[in-house]
Amino acid sequence: MSTVTGQAAFAGDPAVSPRRAGLLRRIVNHRADYLYVLPAIVVMLVVIGYPIYYTIELSLFKTPPNLQMKDKIFVGLDNYVTILRSASFRDVTLNTLIWTAGSTLFAFLLGLGAALSLHREFMGRGVLRALLLIPYVVSAVAASYVWKWLYHSDFGVIGALAVQFQLSDRPINFLDNLHSVLPSLIVVNIWKEFSFAMIMLMAGLQTVPDQLLRAAQVDGANAWQRFWHVTFPHLKSVSMVTVLLLMVANFNSFIIPWIMTGGGPAGASDIWITQIYNLAFGRQRYGVASAYSVILFIVMMTLGYFYVRALTRGDEARAG
């Protein structure tokens, strides 16, 4: 914290207090500073600004399959109405919520359990942590193929094991079944990302003061009470950030459902992203797909707002 004041003094002209100076004057004073961020900002503006503009514009047009994109027909907000009224929107949204909430919740819980179990020093702890992190670094494409093979309805090992141990009399149908497909995909997603939560929470655990835990123990608190009253409050902010990051990632997650099922069977694993892809590239409903994307933007911005809030709590404290 001591560096904070030093930074401010060093960064700006000490004589000009930022609050009192006029905006223009401050900008002029800091003109050289902008050069440092310029390359990043320019790239960002071009590569983010243009697509957002393009998507919003296209969402107001209809693009029938016998017309070229340049001949698209202006329909105002019709695409939004079409989406919100369609029966599939409800199903897909429900799938998206189950997918996002299920993946996030279980990845977080597994990560929390792992972090707590790994917090103590023991032999092989480093190795174990590394092993658990491997799924997080391998590509989602690789993970999808491996799990597709594990789940295979005819030759998959999980189904065969279930028969071997007499849990089922025929191989379990994971991916070609309306009811099991989404949970099966969620398991893959959890496999891939629980260790992210684990790492974040392990780092968070290190901020819990030992003295407090010890004091609680002296006072006769049991393990659960110590966790709930001492450890967990210290994990709050990191948990918030972790959950938000997981939610954003899951909302945007495309590869696992796309490669494993393509949203099927019969739409049972269709989530917003796969639906958008299918509408745009499969059915060339670019207008409708864009409107869908805009709805998704709005949800993302809302999540983003909370993310920023969770982050700034610390940042503002530091930046002063």
Binding site: A11, V137, Y145, V146, F194, I199, N252
Partner: protein, 293 residues
Amino acid sequence: MTDATFSSRAITKRPIDWWRWSGRVFLVFLLLFTVLPMVWMVLTSIKTQFAAMQYPPQWWPAEPTLQNYARLLDPSNSVGQEFLRYFWNSFYVALTTTVIGVVVAVPAAYAFSRFRFPGRTFLFFSVLLRNMFPAVVFLMPLFLLMRWLGLVNTHGSLILTYLTFGLPLSIWLLKGFYDNIPIQLEQAARIDGATRFQAFILIVMPLSSPGIIATSIFSFIGAWNEYVYAYTFLSKQESMTLPVGIQRFFTEFATDWPGLMAATFLMSVPVVVLFLVLQKYFVRALTEGAVKN
């Protein structure tokens, strides 16, 4: 670790440590959950094609073979040539993305950490928000943009795109590192007559090397694994990267599961090795910023 000694003392006193044991059981479960799929991937990859097509499966390959690996890595046959080319493309794209990413992110992160220019917070978070947008909704406009820039079907289109989703994270991570470098060091250098730039290069850069390594791993792994843009932007076979190339190989025409598993394994090796070697930095990078002391 005081915590550890403390709890070991606690064991002797209290008969419970039920929590500790459930923790161990839980870890074993997690370990199996994590590792068994990878084990089955490797076991399948050393089976012959038909051995994989049996029900019930061969729990252990009856005739283990490395032919799937040999075929992929042998530059004298067409499969090997293509696979190695995809491998090289992935490596090239990932490395270039990483290097350019560092060059752009370092000054930006430094500025965000040190300067108080107006609009700083706004710009900073607008940069972060990039991560909020899924690749799929940007595909079409970015394709048109790449076309306009003349980058369609080149690795440049991927590098530029990967930069934009790698940059926010890199800047964010690096900023965390710069925040932790005492400002007095630079001030001392400037009192000794160094310019701000010299102070930056001579004092700050070396101190922030762990941060640079950490962000590099992140960009590299991100670029190596990316699929959606690579799938859309590249149509030339010879410029494809691994995730797309592998799909082309094994699934579009005939699903050869052992071959696919072998390719998946090989594709994962570089990132896993990189991660294992530089684990310390990777973990620090992941948690930096989210956890405040």
